[in-house]
Structure formats: C-alpha cells, structure tokens
C-alpha cells in the first residue's frame, strides 16, 4: 500500500502541463482526481517517475452549453456533473451516470477526464460518452485536436491519446426534442464498479419511431463499447416492447465477455441483454414523455 517514490509537479496552466508531458514522455503521468491512478500506484501496478497534478489548472473545470452542444472540462468532478442543473435538463445521461459512480467521497474527487483517459473496462463515463457519440479534446505538443469517442477506447486501459497528450474536455449534443436518456448499472457489491452498465440515448421522430439510438456498454468486455447491432436493429423502427427485447438480445454480440468471481461469461452475457433492454425501456419512457 506504499507507492514507489516519484516527483510531483503542479503546473498552473495547461501550457505548462503540456510542456512537462513533452519533457517526461513515458516517465510522466497525469494526476486528476487520483481515484484510479493512486490505488494502482499503492499496489505498485503503476510507478510513474513524474506525477503531473492538473488540480491547480482552473481552466479545466467547467460545464457550458454552446450552439446545442455541451462541453465539459476534463477536471470536472463526478459530483459537479451529478448536481449540475444544466446537465440535468440538457444532458441527463451524464448526471445519471455520475450519480452511479462509487460513493460520495469518490464523486467529490474523481473526474470525468480521469475516468475517460484511464479506459477502465468497468468505468461508467465511457459508456455514456459512447451512447452520446461524443468527442474528446486532447492537447499535446502538436496542438489541440478533437477525437471521436468511437475510436477513443483502444483496449484495456488504452486510449487513442498520444503519450504527450492531455485530455482536456468532452463535447456532446444537448438532449434533442423527443429524446430520452438512461443509464442502468449492476454494481459489483465489493467494488461498486459495473458488472454491467448500459447507457442509452434514444431519439424519436415525429411519428414516434426511433430516429437514432446510441447504446454504450461497460463492464462487459476489455473496454467500453457501442452495441452497434442493437443500434442498427432499432434505427428507423417503431419501438415496440418486443423490438426492444429483440434488439437487446444482441447487446454482447461479437464481444469477448469478461468472467470473474461475481459473474461467469454466460451469466454476464445474459445480464448485458437484460440491462440493455431495461435501459432501452427507461430511455423510451423518457423520450415519450411518460
């Protein structure tokens, strides 16, 4: 429970943080809320030589809406997202997801950016950002770029970020008319992480058919993923109970499903299907204003 020694850096600006990242390369590691990295360091599963704490960079903590898009700074805590009035009305999926993370203490310290950059296979925010088809902003030596979330999660604890890049913000669409969000999660009783977590955004057309479906799933495979088969089955169709169930039965298609002490791969596959259907039902209920 005692980490190896490391040097601790506290940049005051993003530019300074970027310089440090460029300087230390693979020896450097970004510290945000510390709720994934610090436990790994205490177990000596991670032993960075330089820790670059973003905690004093005020410009990274914000939630704002511009032109129908919500943008959130990477250092925004889960608690800020959970309790934001703007998000509760304009992007409730993020508030609902935040409220399902850890406990109060974790939510007070853990950050959106940290959760995404860590690409924990059971992290909650990856599922939500996938369902919202969001974009992720990265700042590095070559400047700033926006990465589509679809290509962001590469593998277990691996993202599309370059070694010198810092995740600085995310951007998602505000809740359109006739749409509904939902995040449902089965908490592993020891860790509180997702045995399965399913995030859904459903957008209906004027006739009540499904115009667009976004389904992000976490806890099930080596990384969070979009349930493309489910999305495809639903797009353009009327949302009958039977159709939701049929679509949900494809939730884990093509995924090598995790097995652990809590759930075998067969059981987790079943849970993924059930929880996907429940998330779809909940999102539909909200989209239809019921």
């Amino acid at each position: 429970m005692i980490p190896q020694s490391f040097e601790y850096h506290v940049p005051k600006t993003l530019a300074e943080a970027s310089r440090l990242m460029a300087q230390f390369g693979a020896d450097g590691k970004i510290l945000a809320g510390g709720h994934s990295l610090v436990p790994m360091m205490k177990l000596r599963l991670a032993s960075p030589k330089h820790l670059i704490d973003l905690g004093r960079i005020a410009e990274l903590g914000y939630i704002r809406e511009d032109n129908g898009k919500i943008q959130i700074g990477a250092l925004t805590t889960h608690y800020k997202i959970e309790s934001s009035d703007l998000l509760k009305t304009k992007c409730p999926l993020l508030s609902e997801t935040a409220s399902a993370i850890g406990d109060v203490q974790v939510r007070n310290k853990g950050t959106l950016g940290g959760s995404l950059a860590h690409s924990d296979p059971a992290g909650d925010f990856p599922a939500a950002i996938l369902a919202l088809d969001g974009e992720i902003q990265a700042v590095g030596a070559r400047g700033e770029r926006w990465i589509s979330v679809k290509g962001f999660f590469v593998n277990l604890l691996q993202t599309a970020l370059e070694p010198d890049e810092i995740l600085t913000a995310i951007r998602v669409r505000s809740l359109p008319a006739r749409s509904g969000d939902a995040y449902v999660k089965l908490h592993q009783p020891a860790s509180g992480f997702a045995v399965v977590g399913v995030a859904v955004r459903l957008v209906l057309d004027e006739k009540g058919s499904i115009h667009q479906a976004g389904v992000g799933i976490t806890g099930v495979g080596p990384k969070a993923f979009c349930a493309v088969a489910v999305e495809n089955i639903l797009r353009g169709k009327s949302p009958s109970a039977k159709r939701l169930e049929e679509a949900a039965s494809h939730a884990a298609d093509g995924i090598e499903v995790n097995a652990d002490l809590y759930a075998s791969s067969a059981y987790r596959t079943h849970l993924t299907q059930v929880y996907t259907r429940r998330a779809l039902e909940k999102a539909l209920e909200r989209a239809s204003g019921k």
Partner: protein, 775 residues
C-alpha cells in the same frame, strides 16, 4: 433518588474523541528514533525455500536490518496455540518461515528501515528462490488417503478428531416411524476485515532490559505473557498497551508472528520498531473465520418432533494453528442442537490442515456455523412435512419452565423464553400477512421469501474449567481524593462501548454523576490482571467484576459513614452524592467520606486507609442469549439478484444496561451475518492462490445494501451473574445468516430446489430460476 443510569440510552463516553479523529490508534503513536518494518511474504501456497537473497536490500540506503527465518531460529519463540484437546497435532509455527512456506502471505523475511517507504522498497529487492510443491486446498480431498501433505512429519492432514455421542441412538434407529433428511452445508471461509488493520510497536530498553509493546489487540495481558516467553524478556519487565482498536471481530484475539518479529527486531536493534499491516496483508495473513463442511442428518417424527441430530464437521484449519484455531469448531458441536429439546446427538469433528491462512475466532466463532446448520435443517424438516417454519420450531422448543436445561451436548442453558421472542418477531413482521402476500405475488411471477431463524448462543466466556487459560475477569474501582472514580478493567473493548457501560454501573452503584467515572483498560502496567474482550464476555464477566468491586467500596464507605453518623452500616444507601439512611434523616456527603477514608484521621478500628478495591469474577456458567429473526427477500426473476426487503430481529441478551449500545451491536452483527449469507467469501484457487485478495473482490457489506433493521428485545435475566446480563456482541451475526438463507430458499421453493450454498450470489439463483417453476 439519584439519576437512573442502568437501562438508559446514555451516549457513549468514547465517541467524541473517535468521531472527531482525536483518538490514538497504534499508527498515531510516534516514538523517538522509531524504525519501520515490512515483510516479504510467500507468493506460493506450498513451496520449499531454496534461498533468500537479501544482499541488494541490505545495501539500500536507509535499511537498518534484514532478517530471514534462519536469523530468528532459537532466538524468538514459536507462535503459540492455546487450544489443548486430546491428540491435537501442533505444527511448529515460527514467526517467519525457514525452509518451507505453507500458505500465501506467510512471512519469509523482514526489513527494518528508517521509514516505511524505504522498508517497502527493500521488500522488492529481496529475491526468494522457491521450489513449488503441490498445494492442499480442498479439506475433503485432504482427508483422503494418499493426499499431498501440508506437514509431512504428521503422516496425514488430520489435526484432530473429536467425538460427541449422547442419547439412545439404538432406539432412534429401531423406530421405523422416524424419518431422516441428509444434507451437506458449507459454511464458507470469511475474512474479518476490521477497519483498522493490525499494527504493533515494540520498544525495548537495553538499560532496563524492559519491553513495551503497543498493539491493536483484544487480549493485552495474554499477549504480554506470550511475547515475554517468545522474546525472552522477563514477564515482569514486559508491558503491553492497547491504544484505540479500530475493530477486530475476533481477528485480534491472537498472538501473531509479526508481533513477535517487532519485539525481536527492537531487542536486536535497541530502537522502537513499528509495523502497520496493509489491506492486502490483512486479507492474506490475518486469521480467517468459518470454513466448515457440515454433513448433517436430522431425525424426526411424522408430527415434526425432532429426535436426533448427527453431523460430520470437517473444519478447514489452514496451515498452522493460531491461538484458538482448533478450538473454534468444537463450539459448533457444542451448540448444534440450537434452541430445541433434542435428545440424541452425534457429532464428529475433524480439523484438517490445508495450505491456507489459519482460521480462528471470527464474530460468533463456531456458533454461527452451528446455528446455520440446525436452522437450515429445521426448515428442511418443515418443508418435508409441509409444516410452517414457525410451527416446527415452536413444537421443538423447551418450555420456559424447563430451565436450567442440560442438553445432551453437555451444556446447561441458563434461562430462556423462546416462545416469546418467536411470537414477538412474527407479530413485528406481520408473518401471516407476508405469507398471503407471497402467494399473491407468486401468481404474478414475482418471488419473495420469508425466512425465520430462532437461535441460542453461548456467551460470557466462561468458566475457567472450560477455557484454555482462565475465564475469569478482573475489575478495580478506585475512588480518588477529589471523589472522582477510576475504574480499571482487564477486558479490552474495541468498539463495543464498555467505557460507557462500566461507568453506568459504577456511577449508579455509588450514587455519583456518570461524568465522575473514568474507565481504563488495555494497559498491563495499570491493570493488574485480565483476559480480554471476546466471546461476548466483557459486560457479563468484566462488568460483574467491576460491580463486585463497587460493592466492596460501598461496604467500606458505609462503615466509615456509619462510624461518623453513629449508626449501623447496613442502614445506609448511596444516592445523589450522599450516603444516607433510607429516610434521608441522617446523611453525609460522598466526598466527606472519601476524604475520611484517605486522610484517615478517624477511621473505625480495623479499617485500612484508601478506597481501592480489586475483584476477580469467576463465572459459574456461560450465559445463553437467544432470539428470533425474520428476513424478507425479493428475487429479481430475470437476473437472480436478491434484495433484502425487510429485516426483523427480536433478541434477548438478558438484562439491558444501555439499549442504544445493544442496538449498535445488533445492527453491526446483522450486517456481518447477512454478509455471509449473500456476499462474503474468501476464495482460494486449486493452487492455493488467494483470488479474493482485495476489497475490490471481497465484499464488505455497506450500509446502502441493507433495509432499516426493525429490532426489539425481550429481557430474560440470567442467574449466572448479579447483573443479570448475558451478552450481545455476536448475536446479530449468529441469528441472521440462516434467516436470510432460509428466506431466499423459501422464495425459490416453487423452483423445486432444496438447498444452495452461501454466498447466495445472483448467478446461482439465476441458474435455478431459468430452469423454470416446477409443478
């Protein structure tokens, strides 16, 4: 009359400092020149050690010393086992392994360094060359001929076999109307997981040749004796201090190798040495609890009268004996008949060595296992006969008039009214309504379960004749010159709240304010003798010693007061800070008598100066608290998830001195008992690797997983001690596990499954439910 204190919800004296973070645990203590210790632990469950290379660690700047098992050989005594049953095999248990390791986490080398970071870095620099051996992990397979052996020198893996055989089994077998149900139950291995892990500081003074040890323990006096023997320091120059202890649940009712190593290193280096256990070490190398395979046969008449219980208990003891390892399963045999008047019993208990951490006392220690076995069995009989779970229990209860009741297991239950607790819990839960709701919901494809458990347990441990090293307890009451009162107890409470309870007893007896009494425990220099806190004994045994000491103080003060007032001592009572006649006509201040006693100007002839009384209470018997619990569970028929919807507990722990503390004990106990039923399990794989090695995997129950507990009490006093108290520390844990499992099995009844083993993880239930309802 003075303020009534006993039976009142008095707030805990210890809470302000604990809540405000101002209390001192072992890790808060810092001594001049203190060094820090860390351990290299085995990564194999079973292996020979070829070589331990410490060269690189020794030269790391800041490292003061590195020790291996061979460095302590002949210089530091073995880890002690106090259990002494006939024919018990006791393997040598050095504080660190020498040539062979027998479980994951066994200490192999110790580093002492100037700070804990250097110590930890040095651990990574020590290379151990292992020659792995096949691991013995399944206790049933360990019993087979030709099994690999944990300890080669013993020839088999059986540590002991104990038999209990009473009644007339020939008559049972001859009666053809008697039916039998056979069932295997698994009481799975659990980890106690106290919030504060273990920790110790040893400080040896070479000039005085004396040793002071601060340890997070439940048994400071026993620890002092054992560390003196192990380290070779004269016991009269050894002192153990127990600062605040952040939970223990039986896991610190022990003497550990790490405590021995801290003493050894401090003596060797002449400096204080601190060791604080990490959480992973805590799950690996602090004792585990339970871990029994129970093959049960229950014999009953067609009318539901149970006539006999047979059980083969295979107890997985792990690799070595800790302090009470082999004794724990014998408590299971002792309590296997539960609260039923059953005339015939046969129990064979086999203690088995495996390549795992030792099991030992964990909250309930042997009794939760017994209660689980008999309470599950009563439900199986009820189902077989199509009787109601409450009805079958009532049918087999002894009458309140039958007490004291000696059972064929050899124990004598003091007092009880099982009918009353059962009646109260049925009423509290709305039992018949619940049954109707259950039928209604089943028709809709929804499944709720109603589970009952009526338990009795054994507390107030115990008569010295039946304990390994004394079962008495000491208490001292000392009235200071200013009239303030100091109470010393040989017990060692670690969260239970006896600083409050003991002060209530003394303040009420002496007729003085509650705030004038201060209770001390956990320092062997201050407290002349003691056994400790475990087995729900602290108030019943330790509180009685204090009560008796207070009586002696009163007798002496009454003599002095009577002398001053010119009356007989027997006419005086202690109220409102005064010592007075019943009618209040003649009176003298408490402080005035104290001054007289200590300044000794005009003492009655033959009365010694001073007001200090020390008593040792030897309990004539155990006490037997009991209760009735109901758990209501709801199953998710799609996923098998269990939701505990309601929980009702009616407990009888004898006379209640502080209802708030009783509730606290029951709530905590319920959480841990329910934890065993639904979530908790220490899992080793077939190679003896610990799979549930962190709190990411091992489920410690959390408040949000529980409904509000509906608790209440009945009060059936015990004649075993003058306070009439029985004990409540473990009751919740003992009563709740079978209530929850019975509830889930009751919910699953339409699916035609008789039994599932704990923990009742959703996947097991889903596997049953997906097969569909049986006709």
């Amino acid at each position: 009359m003075s303020t009534k204190l006993l039976g009142e919800r008095i707030k805990r004296k210890e809470d302000p400092r604990l809540i405000q973070g101002r209390a001192h645990y072992v890790d808060d203590i810092k001594l001049d020149g203190m060094l820090y210790m860390a351990f290299v632990r085995s990564v194999h469950a079973h292996a020979c050690i070829r070589k331990v290379d410490t060269a690189a660690a020794k030269v790391l700047p800041g490292v003061i010393a590195v020790y291996t098992g061979h460095d302590i050989k002949g210089k530091l005594g073995l880890v002690p086992c106090a259990a002494g049953m006939e024919g018990l095999k006791i393997p040598d248990h050095p504080c660190m392994a020498m040539d062979k390791v027998c479980y994951i986490g066994e200490p192999i080398a110790a580093v002492v360094a100037r700070d804990r970071y250097v110590a930890r870095d040095a651990v990574d620099l020590i290379e151990v060359d292992y020659d792995p051996l096949p691991a013995v992990t399944d206790p049933m397979k360990a019993l087979e001929k030709g099994s690999k052996l944990v300890h080669e020198n013993f020839g088999d893996n059986i540590a002991f076999v104990a038999k209990l055989d009473a009644g007339d089994w020939k008559a049972v077998e001859a009666d053809k109307t008697i039916k039998v149900i056979k069932q295997r139950f698994i009481n799975q291995r659990l980890a106690p997981i106290s919030m504060e892990t273990r920790g110790v500081i040893a400080s040896y003074s070479p000039g005085e040749d004396s040793l002071t040890v601060w340890s997070s323990t439940q048994i400071p006096h026993i620890l002092k004796t054992q560390l003196a023997i192990m380290s070779g320091v004269d016991e009269a120059r050894c002192r153990v201090i127990t600062p605040e202890v952040g939970g223990a649940f039986g896991s610190k009712l022990n003497v550990y190798g790490e405590e021995g190593m801290a003493c050894f290193a401090s003596k060797h280096l002449g400096k204080p040495v601190k060791w604080i256990e990490g959480r992973r070490e805590n799950i690996q190398a602090t004792i585990h609890g339970r871990d029994q395979v129970n093959d049960l046969e229950i014999y009953f008449q067609p009318d539901g009268k149970v006539v006999g219980v047979k059980c083969l208990i295979v107890a997985d003891l792990g690799a070595y004996h800790q302090l009470l390892t082999p004794a724990i399963p014998t408590l299971t045999a002792m309590m296997i008949l539960g609260c039923y008047n059953i005339k015939n019993v046969f129990v064979e208990t086999k203690g088995v060595f495996t390549n795992k951490m030792a099991t030992d006392a964990y909250r309930g220690a042997g009794r939760p296992e017994a209660t689980y076995i008999i309470e599950r069995a009563m439900d199986l009989v009820a189902h077989e006969l199509n009787m109601d779970a409450a009805e079958i229990r009532e049918k087999n209860f002894p009458s309140p008039k039958d007490f004291p009741l000696t059972l064929p297991t050899g124990v004598t239950y003091d007092t009880a009214n099982y009918q009353k607790t059962l009646k109260n819990v049925l009423k509290a839960a709305g039992y018949s309504k619940l049954r109707k709701e259950q039928v209604r919901l089943r028709k809709k494809g929804k499944y709720i379960g109603v589970g009952l458990s009526t338990y009795v347990e054994i507390c107030a441990m115990g008569p010295s004749s039946r304990m390994p090293a004394g079962g008495w307890e000491s208490g001292t009451v000392r009235v200071e010159v200013t009239g303030k009162v100091t109470v010393l107890s040989g017990t060692s409470p670690h969260g239970q709240g006896e600083e409050t309870t003991f002060a209530q007893i003394v303040a009420e007896e002496l007729g003085i304010p509650f705030d004038d009494v201060t209770v001390y425990h956990g320092d062997t220099f201050q407290i002349p003798m003691g056994i400790g806190t475990f087995g729900s004994r602290t108030t019943a045994v330790g509180g009685t010693a204090i009560y008796n000491a207070a009586q002696r103080i009163k007798e002496k003060m009454a003599r002095i007061a009577a002398h001053k007032l010119g009356i007989k001592p027997g006419e005086l009572v202690f109220v409102d800070g005064k010592i007075q006649t019943e009618d209040g006509q003649k009176s003298i201040g408490f402080g005035e008598v104290v001054a007289e006693a200590i300044f000794a100007k005009q003492l009655p002839p033959g009365v010694e100066p001073g007001l200090t009384e020390h008593c040792v209470f030897e309990p004539p018997n155990y006490t037997f608290p009991f209760g009735a619990h109901i758990a209501v569970t709801e199953l998710d028929s799609e996923t098998g998830e269990v939701r505990l919807r309601n929980y009702f507990a009616v407990d009888d722990c004898g006379r209640i001195l502080n209802p708030m503390l009783v509730e606290g004990q029951v709530h905590g106990g319920l959480a841990q008992g329910i934890g065993q039923a639904l979530w908790e399990e220490v899992v080793y794989d077939e190679n003896g690797q610990l799979i549930s090695g962190s709190l990411m995997d091992y489920v410690v129950p959390k408040a949000h997983q529980f409904p509000w507990f509906e608790t209440s009490n009945t009060e059936t006093k015990t004649p075993v001690n003058p306070l009439g108290v029985k004990g409540v520390g473990e009751a919740g844990t003992i009563g709740s596990t079978p209530a929850v499992v019975n509830s889930v099995m009751d919910a699953l009844r339409p699916f035609g499954v008789r039994h599932l083993d704990m923990p009742l993880k959703p996947e097991k239930i889903w596997n049953v439910m997906k097969a569909g309802v049986k006709a």
